[in-house]
């Protein structure tokens, strides 16, 4: 019963929100890309790039906001390759992403060594400070949970509403969704599908930059090799979990964040459970919840299908894995 008390502490919820913020930013960004018909498994690599360039930028400019901008540029540079490869060259979108993730590990840890050498003892960069919104943060319980967070958490919340509104209440959002559901029809209507997809991938890159910045600039103020440690894959899981819906996806990241926060607190309570099971918990909870409560979900119809102009009839058919869509 001790465990249930954990849920009543504001500290648990604020920690859950803190842990979910990077996942949420990356997953929200990923939705845009997925909705436009580009399956994005490269979130992991883009988060890593974002994390490193946030650190690098903030360290070099000594300004945390400039660091944030540089983080977005850094992960967008990876997104450019992603867009070119999957939209123009039409490479299978899953596999190109896996290559990008490897590249990101290489770029970040190599430049980290080249720039900071091996004997620098963790040069710190300026980081964000938690913002306590005056008045609101004094409200019991809700105050510290919702109004005493880091700036990026507020940005993530704004993004949630912004993206929901954009996707479902604007004509641009409709076009974007059409690019993922039925690009041929959109093309016939005279909209440039390629352009929409390119923009979507770049926007996703920018969001991943923010997500990466969460890891390095939220009080940690330093970088470490492979700091993203699989968070990109979890963010992708959250997108599918949330059925490509911003609200659902956010709840999925909250589930994961809460699972992580819960295991950390349960450890501190000295139950006699081997700690490996605690570490496993967030992944296991997500897996079990996915299988038992969510049911299979179907993504946008044209996800992972390269767009080829004037090939309206074959839109439903998936390409061969080896050769992509057939030549003309």
């Amino acid at each position: 019963m001790e465990v249930l008390k954990i849920f009543l502490t504001p500290d648990f919820w604020s920690s859950a929100i803190r842990l979910m913020t990077p996942l949420m930013l990356a997953a929200l960004g990923g939705i845009i890309c997925e909705r436009a018909g580009i399956l994005n498994m490269a979130l992991e690599g883009q988060i890593l790039m974002g994390a490193f360039f946030a650190y690098l930028g903030s360290y070099l400019t000594q300004n945390v906001w400039l660091g944030l901008v540089i983080a977005m540029i850094g992960s967008m540079s990876l997104a450019v390759i992603h867009a070119f490869m999957s939209i123009n060259v039409k490479v299978n979108q899953v596999v190109v992403a896996l290559g990008l993730n490897t590249l990101a590990i290489g770029i970040t840890s190599t430049i980290f060594r080249f720039m900071f050498g091996t004997d620098s003892q963790m040069a710190n960069c300026p980081g964000f400070k938690a913002i306590h919104i005056p008045g609101l943060s004094d409200i019991p319980f809700i105050g510290p949970v919702l109004f005493g967070q880091y700036p990026l958490t507020y940005i993530a919340l704004l993004a949630l509403f912004g993206i929901s509104w954009f996707l479902f209440h604007t004509s641009r959002g409709l076009e974007l969704r059409a690019a993922g559901e039925n690009p041929q029809a959109l093309d016939v209507a005279g909209v440039d599908v390629i352009r929409i997809r390119w923009l979507a991938v770049l926007v996703t890159g920018a969001f991943c930059g923010l997500a990466g910045a969460c890891l390095t600039l939220n009080g940690l103020n330093t970088f470490y090799d492979n700091i993203s440690s699989g968070r990109g894959y979890i963010a992708y899981a959250a997108i599918v979990f949330g059925k490509w819906n911003p609200m659902g996806t956010t709840l999925a990241t909250l589930l994961f964040g809460a699972g992580d926060a819960l295991q950390l607190r349960m450890q501190a309570m000295n139950f006699n459970i081997p700690y490996y099971f605690y570490l496993m918990m967030p992944y296991l909870i997500t897996f079990l919840a996915l299988v038992f409560f969510m049911g299979p979900s179907k993504g946008p119809a044209a996800s992972n299908v390269p767009f080829v102009k004037d090939k309206a009839r074959s839109s439903k058919r998936r390409p061969k894995q080896t050769s992509g869509i057939g030549g003309k």
Binding site: D119, L215, Q267, N270
Partner: protein, 344 residues
Amino acid sequence: MKKKLMALLLAGTMLLGLAACSRNTGGSQGAAGPAQSSAPAASEAPAEKDASDVKIALVCNGAVNDGGWNASAFEGLNRIHDELGVETAYSEKVAIAEVPNVLRTYARQGFNLIFGHGAEFGEPMSTVAPEFPDVQFVAVNANVSGDNLSGTVYKFGELGYFSGMAAAMVSETGKIGIIPPDDAPNNKADMDTFELGAKAVDPDIQVMSAFTGSWDDLPKAKECADSLISQGCDVLLPLGDAYSVGVFQACEEKGIHSEGWVSDQHGLSDTVICSGIQSNPDVYVATAKSFLDGTFTPGVGVYGFENGAQSMSEFYGLNDDQKAQMEAAIQDYLDGKLDIPTLY
């Protein structure tokens, strides 16, 4: 014609290979025993070596800029280079599968003393060492020994005890926390004595722990710290490598105390009241020195308070009474009046 020749050659090599396939694993390992009688003659000649003839290498599993465990080895290597004028080299981020070849490459490059920084080097080193009888292999933190293979271990538990005492002295809530990476035996020893030491000062104190599950996940360590703080802990000891910084930041934000580990980490954060120092650099330099002057003998070296390789830093956050109490306890331990259940 050429094709046929190739085919014949290929078939030949395949056959040879198959012949070599016959069981001979016992051979290479069994050889370690009988070889004992002849090998020492070569390695134990107590001749002083000239620094210019000696090359020393370091192999690490992790990154040498991690600010903790591996960084301390790197510092030791650099000190060997600077103080003894010996040529040195290092390899970082070497996965276990690559360790044997890296060791062999160093041995073939003429390195005479090769350090492996961690217990995981024990096994590959005991395979490779018999192949290079003229090279000394040292696995730091491993309990291995052989003709030309040594291990070094710390008296794990000493630092935990004194850190626990100091933590209990400054704690106001009566709750203190420890954040180890995992429950490997050496961490377990320090965790146990941390509690013992704390209880020696305050029998009612509550000790909590949270594992990070990783030696380098900074964000995770910070969250562990936050979760312990929310349970009421007001002194935290990170028992890890690279992630101390994450714990210190949590402590700074909440305005509580922390303790340092491995090196004096007061410089990293003002919250650090004292640090348990495990001087890997000292172990490295001492080993290299004895190797140079010919007194080095292979075996398991135990390092602790008595030979200065483990010690407590200055007690920054304690008042004079408490400092005196700590120093008395350390003196008692050195005099054999205080018994700490250490590993080794």
